[in-house]
Amino acid sequence: MSPQDDTKGNENVSRRNFLKKSGYALGGLLVGGVVGSLLTVGQRQAAPSPAPQTQSTTDYNQALMYFRPDQFRMVEAATERIFPADENGPGAKDLGVAYFIDHQLAGDWGFNARDYMRSPFFKGETVQGYQGRLNRREIFDIALQEMQNYSQRKYQKNFADLTEEQQDEVLRAFEKDEIKLTTISPSGFFRILRNATIEGVYADPLYGGNKNMGGWKLKNYPGNQMAYTNIIEKDEFVKMPPKSLKDHLHT
């Protein structure tokens, strides 16, 4: 029996035990809990899982919500430099990170909907955090245009058509504020892009990145499992196939 099978067996035992003990009750009255649903999830796991989607199938759930295609190509190229494909496995491009960022910009995050964006605006100290009036959509629009201008000035080519080394040089110019802009902070934009890239690699696949949980597989991260009761004390590292939120959704 492989370690993997062993884990699965223990987990089922754990789930049964858990179901017996689960829920919280007040004087016999169950006031909440997700017991019923867990049972369904448990049963669902026994059913054969649908065949994994392959790259060759057209994914009709995937298109652009915010970027123009040229912006998308730039973001795809830039995020691939931040998190490149290598011998460990896929990079940002294959993981769909540019789609992730596109979709994030299309919603609350792009509009800074839950940030305090009231005036007056003043330039603050670094320790006071972001004090600009632009939202993330506006920052991306300006920054991508400036990245294109800089690439054209320096290499007479669009960013997406530069060599990897040249792309790194452009990104570093933003990261280190070597390029001077009056509208946005180049390093501030770079931080947003870098952090969004990491999010796109590792967030649940439902957001458009981490394609086929490929980001999680890089780290042997098991995604979201219901319980680790039976492995928490184990000495050896336990590998298991990852699960996504989709695996928890049942209709």
């Binding site: 305090y116 320790v127 990491i198 928490i232 004390e233």
Partner: protein, 570 residues
Amino acid sequence: MRKLPKVDVVIVGVGWAGGIIASELAKNGLKVVGLERGKERKTEDYFMVHDELRYAYRYELMQDLSKETITFRSNEKIRALPMRQYGSFLIGNGIGGAGVHWNGQTYRFLPYDFEIKSKTIERYGKNKIPNGMTIQNWGITYDQLEPYYDKFEKMAGISGEENPLAGKRSSKYPTPPMKSSPAMKMFMETAKKMKLHPYILPSANLSQAYTNPDGVARSACQYCGFCERFGCEYGAKADPVVTVIPVAKKTGNFEIRTHSYVRRILHKGNKAIGVMYTDVTTGEEIEQPADIVVIASYVFNNVRLLLNSKLGRPYDPATGRGVIGKNYAYQVMRGNAIGFFENKEFNTFAGAGALGVTLDDYNGDNFDHSDLKFIHGASISLTQTGLRPIANNPVPKGTPSWGKEFKRQSIKYANRSLTVAAQGASMPFRHHFLDLDPTYKDVFGDPLIRITFDFEEQDRQLALFLATKCEEILKQMGADRVDANKELGPYDIVPYQSTHNTGGVIMGDSPDSSAVNSYLQMWDAENVFVVGASAFPHNSGYNPTGTVGALSYRAAEGILKYSKKGGPVV
């Protein structure tokens, strides 16, 4: 303004403090209304909770900053500016408040904490307290507070084992300690070899199924690794929604109104007459009269509500007089170290919010400070809270933050690194305080609260000392490489540090130096009780919730006394 019928007690904010007080008062027959600005929360909300992006990075459970935030400046010479995005700390919202998204690490403060000023002077002399440091005794001793700690721990079902360096306990923890992971065992064994006193961290995550004295039964923790910033889909992590609130509701004496944003305490003479709140679903302003007003929101709103209501004497840093806004304190979280292991992989994706091992050899006054340039200290812990992949990208110092090398190292060490961290105490200073911002407003047009705070030499010395201790432990644990964070820069509101903000409505034994007495009853308005970590005169080297819980039980007792006899209860 529509005026509702009078009730016995109105509570502002239904988190741990509000929930505990509601349950204790309702059980004793008082008619209680809880006003909560946020929405209803229940365990069924968390089917899809294992979502790091939504909960940890988009702050699903937190206050919407577009409507209200705080402003911050390092000192009085610079202009305070709003915290436009989350960073340093996270502000809860909705039923259960921050009690929903906490980790569950449930400590008691040390006997030293409650008598910090006299004990420091007694051992080291007056000159040990630097100019401007405004530590003071709490107006209560550990022994006096002990029964209330006990009550909170039994209600929540805290899992733990005796801390050899803490105050006396009247009874054992209600449930046995959590399971021990291999990393925890390494820390435990190493610390013992170093003649330190490690113990398994007291946890509100429940090591086994538990029925509390109120008859609430909860199931055991599943070590799923999603606690801090998340709600618990099992109801295993103690939070107000699965403990005290249903108990209060079952009495028939407790009514919760959600989406009810309290904006003013209404008062006449030296008593409150009720509160004014906005129903945020309609915009209507409503008056709720009450015999007793309990302010139980988070630290910042407790202070803001008093100042906006012109209740109590505002603190003035120039003279040191006044009390509302005084002694804002935080925590020193930068004294830590990370160890990298070449040949060992850990299942650190698994864990629980309060899974870990701790030691207090360098906390409080458990060690000699004669030759040190700081007082107090920190708990030092190895915790296994569940490393999630967006956050967990450990790389040795000097590694670039992006590109091929970053990817290689962050993947390699994702399961091959352990952190030992200190949770440093934070001492109050005369020039650290909360007041109303003169410029920035919330969605209703009310002034925001303004924080004036920075780290001091005390904090820098503390961080340096603690990081060195953390580094030693990790080296002894056999890490191949240890990187320690020894330098504490200025206080920066951008990186997350700790949601353990304290002070502003502090407790004490005299109206000259404190805002509330040891039952958290306002000296200046006898029918107003202000409950929460806002009552801490300083912050200790521990998570604060255990002490917030104990003080809430004590306040509930004070309110019951007051409802019968009136007048000051001390």
